[in-house]
């Protein structure tokens, strides 16, 4: 048994230095086969070894039997963006075997199941056929489990080849199986068998090696949706209505999982929150409008098609000044698009959503920690401004595992905004000398005071509607009343600026250009900047975290003549929003945008910027 297909390729591996903690592995499998557990185990074990790592799942929109790729990038410097080529592939899917080889760097390694009888097309790779069936037979498990556990074979072989620590693997499995000994041991047994087989049969090849570090110490690993759900729980979420849709679903599903843990009275079994799976997204957002109006911290999570269905109700929420939070975990659109692939294509759609003059507050979390942070902060902003807030995450951020610092407990008390209860109405009148009116702007910030249903003060009730109304919530078609009200709503957007999270700005000395991005492209942009700097192109970088833009954004835009706007969509949507907000600087912005379902790579960003710089 050798690591080559004996009769087809030269056995000489090019001499080179081992690559340590800096390579990428892709697992090519079919979905529904249980490979997710194996892949996550590898990811977590590497993380446990203290080595920076990231994982991205490229999966099909079906349940079982189609090609799936899981890519793990190991990078000692902490780069976590997608790379375009793999150093190692674990090729388990005969259907894609030949194409999968195309994505391996010269000199890379190919682990594959030896029942794939195809002839590899490349001779510059090292092949490791694995006797999966044979090895699995040697383990004592029920036939039903066999299929699932077979995926552990490649974990074992890989562990031996690149040096994954066995204790780290055990820790990963224990985490995955929530400490249940049985599955942990079964899977470990399979891994050991494979490991031992590899040790006995394979030639050592130190091309790619893992070496323990301390770079992940104290860090955590989470997907953005779970982080967002937890953040929302710390934000005191009280009402959740949702309708299943990829990649939004796992956010409410994390709420279903964690709310009982953190917000149910263990003794009485009483819950101080409600989760409703609605009949569709119109109903979900309708419930939020009702709940937000009623004074609850209300949220949903959805994706493109669901968001589009929410258009009418969000217009009402904007106009009737109802706080609520929508997480739009973006996938590729328009229409059903690529439901299991990532994009940043809903920016302008959200900005201008619906008929009439609306503007929606947007938050752009750029990493898993910000998902947590905006999870609670979004409520503060929504309630303070009495407006819907749309948080634009994406599939890559929301569904993939990311390293991050531990979640931080909110650093400030909740901001419940301007709410008047029974006694407050008199205080209001005493203080302002005015009769309270639901839409009366006494503070000059555009934000009126609201009362909530259940308030027993006979003067507290008011009539809410999507039609014209005056300061006292009375129906009105008066032209002046309309204009006054709609301009006050615009003023709230001005006010909003002081409640929005500012951008994250990173500068380089003598930067000759700027880069602006939002959200999950951060990792790729960070990496691209360093490599561009190596090529002599120094850049300042601003990652915007919300709209309306704060003053720092104005400043950055004003002070950079040439700004690359990096984003995952066709039309350069962030750039369009910037142009509208900064007409004087509109020509500063350059488009670095594409959408093909994959997270951007640093490589592509570098090439794009280089080619534009050359012009």
């Amino acid at each position: 048994m050798s690591q080559h297909q004996p009769d087809m390729i030269s056995t000489s591996t090019p001499e080179r230095q081992p690559v340590v903690n800096d390579f990428s592995i892709t697992f090519c499998t079919v979905n529904g086969s249980g490979s997710a557990t194996s892949n996550l185990t590898v990811l977590r074990a590497i993380f446990k070894m203290g080595i920076p790592v990231s994982g991205k799942n490229i999966f099909p929109s079906n349940i079982q039997g189609l090609p799936t790729w899981y890519s793990i990038r190991v990078n000692k410097d902490g780069f976590t963006a997608r790379v375009e080529k793999d150093d190692i592939i674990v090729a388990m899917n005969p259907a894609t075997f030949i194409q999968d080889l195309d994505y391996v760097v010269p000199g890379g390694m190919v682990l594959y199941s030896d029942d794939i009888k195809l002839t590899p097309t490349r001779s510059d790779l090292t092949y490791y056929p694995m006797p999966v069936k044979q090895l699995i037979r040697s383990i004592d498990i029920t036939p039903q489990l066999r299929d699932f556990v077979s995926n552990m074979i490649y974990v074992g072989v890989l562990a031996w080849l690149i040096g994954i620590d066995m204790e780290a693997i055990r820790a990963a499995l224990e985490y995955h199986f929530k400490g249940r000994a049985k599955p942990v041991e079964t899977n470990l047994a399979a891994i050991r068998v494979a490991y031992d087989w590899a040790a006995a049969n394979l030639q050592e090849n130190h091309t790619y090696r893992l070496q323990p570090m301390k770079a992940t110490e104290g860090m955590i690993l989470s997907d953005g949706n779970t982080a967002a759900a937890l953040g929302a729980i710390y934000g005191g979420v009280q009402f959740v209505a949702w309708y299943p849709i990829t990649p939004g679903s796992s956010l409410p599903e994390a709420l279903i999982e964690y709310l009982p843990e953190l917000r149910m009275n263990k003794e009485t079994g009483e819950q101080n929150y409600m989760i409703v799976q609605a009949e569709d997204e119109i109903a979900a957002i309708g419930m939020l409008v009702g709940a937000g109006w009623g004074g609850l911290r209300a949220m949903t999570a959805t994706a493109g098609p669901g968001l589009s269905l929410m258009t009418e109700y969000l217009g009402l929420a904007y106009f009737a000044e109802v706080p609520l939070v929508v997480w739009d975990v973006q996938r590729v659109g328009p229409s059903t698009g690529l439901p299991t692939r990532t994009a940043q294509g809903d920016l302008t759609g959200v900005y201008f959503m619906g008929h009439g003059d609306t503007n929606f507050i947007q938050l752009f979390p750029g990493n898993m920690n910000e998902c947590f942070e905006f999870g609670w902060k979004a409520f503060d902003i929504a309630e303070r401004l009495q407006m819907p807030v749309v948080v634009l995450s994406d599939l890559d951020l929301g569904m993939n595992q990311w390293m991050g610092q531990p979640f931080e407990y909110p650093d400030r008390p909740m901001d419940r905004g301007k709410v008047l209860w029974e006694g407050d109405l008199d205080l209001f009148e005493a203080k302002t000398g005015k009769k309270w009116g639901r839409y009366l702007d006494v503070d000059g910030d555009g934000i009126p005071y609201r009362t909530l249903p259940g308030n027993l003060n006979p003067r507290s009730a008011y009539f809410t509607r999507g039609t014209g109304h005056d300061e006292y919530a009375r129906y009105s078609e008066d032209p002046e009343v309309w204009e006054r009200n709609i301009l006050r709503l615009a003023k709230k957007i001005q006010t909003a600026k002081s409640y929005m999270p500012g951008p994250v700005i990173q500068r380089m000395e003598q930067a000759q250009a700027g880069i602006i991005a939002v959200g999950s492209t951060d990792a790729a942009v960070q990496e691209a900047r360093l490599k561009l700097a190596d090529r002599g192109i120094k850049t300042d970088y601003m990652r915007i975290r919300g709209w309306p833009f704060t003053q720092e954004v104005d400043e950055f835009v004003r002070t950079h003549e040439r700004i690359y706007v990096v984003e995952i969509n066709r039309d350069g949507q962030l750039r369009q929003i910037l142009m509208i907000n900064y007409p004087e600087q509109a020509s500063h912005f350059r488009k670095v945008a594409r959408v093909n379902g994959l997270p951007l790579s640093a490589r592509w960003i570098i090439d794009e910027i280089l080619s534009q710089e050359e012009k």
Partner: protein, 348 residues
């Protein structure tokens, strides 16, 4: 059988009828919807309801405007066309001690809103859901709604060729726990049904034929006053007695009546008219609806009730304090917990 002081006109909670009024109606004179608003006012006044304990909801349409014309002292949300149910659900979770009154139209409920209507019923949210059913879109000036009778001809629209949606049948099919039909021209029945509805444990659907005098009131059409007057067939005469008045309950000849006790102990007394109809029998309900349809009768009364089915509020354990009065301490987990949460995240 009210507890209003005959002299002062003040009820048990210290309010006069005026305290239950709304703004002057801007609907057409003679519109059935106004008649219904008046009965809501009367019912709430006579039941000693605290107006602040009611929240009003509506969709869009002439009917959906009417919450402005009753219970000025109650909060109200006039939302979107056909989508009131979802909104009502969200709000009623904000304070589960409140009771919702929703007013919708036949267009609002049976055309655009059919899905939300039926899913609301499925969830059995405790609220009164009134459909002011005139077979037509009033506010947009006289197009067919989905409850328009087959063969109805309207000025700009031609003739309706499709069978009507039957609101009560739809409610029944969705396992509604309280289904009644009435007629704006039968104010007493409307009032008693509203009283019973507000005391019901879950969603109470009232399909009230409410003529649109401007666009659909020709004498021979089923949604007109004249037709209603001529073709109304009451299943029973019905009197509602609130739980607190049970001592004063009137005595009727044994065998003449049938009582339905609601979850809160209040009682609906049904005086037989003709056959002895049992509104707890779901199959019978399907049957009388079908028969009335065939006979082209306006069958009114309490068609079905299941007083015991748990409402959505009963399916979970909630604290007594209204959600919307909870403090930060109650809804933000304590800072100690964050450590544990981070441990859940495979912290290294």
């Amino acid at each position: 059988m009210t507890t209003v002081d005959a002299q002062t006109g003040i009820n048990k909670v210290g309010l006069s009828r005026a305290d239950y009024k709304g703004l002057p109606s801007t609907l057409c004179q003679g519109c059935g919807h106004n008649a219904i608003s008046n009965q809501i006012i009367a019912a709430m006044y006579e039941l000693d309801v605290i107006p602040e304990k009611i929240v009003k909801f509506s969709g869009i349409g002439c009917s959906s405007k009417s919450p402005a014309y009753f219970l000025n002292r109650s909060f109200s949300f006039n939302g979107l066309h056909g989508r009131m149910p979802s909104m009502a659900l969200g709000t009623l979770f904000a304070d589960m001690t409140l009771k919702g009154i929703g007013v919708s139209g036949d267009g609002d409920t049976a055309s655009i809103g059919l899905g939300q209507f039926k899913h609301l019923i499925r969830r059995n949210l405790p609220m009164v859901y009134i459909v002011e059913n005139n077979g037509v879109y009033g506010l947009t000036k006289g197009q067919f709604s989905a409850t328009a009778e087959k063969g109805l001809t309207l000025k700009h629209e031609g003739t309706n060729l499709f069978l009507p949606v039957d609101i009560c049948l739809e409610a029944l099919a969705s396992n509604a726990t309280f289904v009644a039909r009435s007629f704006a021209g039968d104010p007493k029945q409307v009032k008693e049904l509203i009283k019973a509805a507000i005391s019901h444990r879950g969603v109470a659907v009232l399909d009230i034929i409410s003529p649109c005098v401007t666009f659909n009131n020709k004498d021979d059409t089923i949604h007109s006053y004249v037709f209603g007057k001529e073709h109304e067939v009451r299943l029973h005469d019905l009197i509602f007695t609130p739980a607190r008045d049970m001592l004063t309950i009137e005595d009727f000849a044994e065998g003449d009546t049938r009582d339905v006790e609601l979850y809160d102990g209040s009682m609906i007394t049904l005086h037989k008219l003709g056959t002895d109809y049992d509104p707890r029998d779901r199959q019978a309900a399907f049957k009388v609806l079908e028969e009335a349809r065939v006979k082209r009768e306006l069958l009114t009364g309490l068609i079905y009730v299941n007083p015991d089915e748990p409402s959505i509020f009963d399916l979970y354990k909630f604290p007594e304090k209204p959600f919307n009065r909870m403090t930060e301490q109650e809804i933000r987990p304590p800072s100690e917990t964050i450590r544990m949460v981070n441990e859940w995240m495979f912290s290294a």
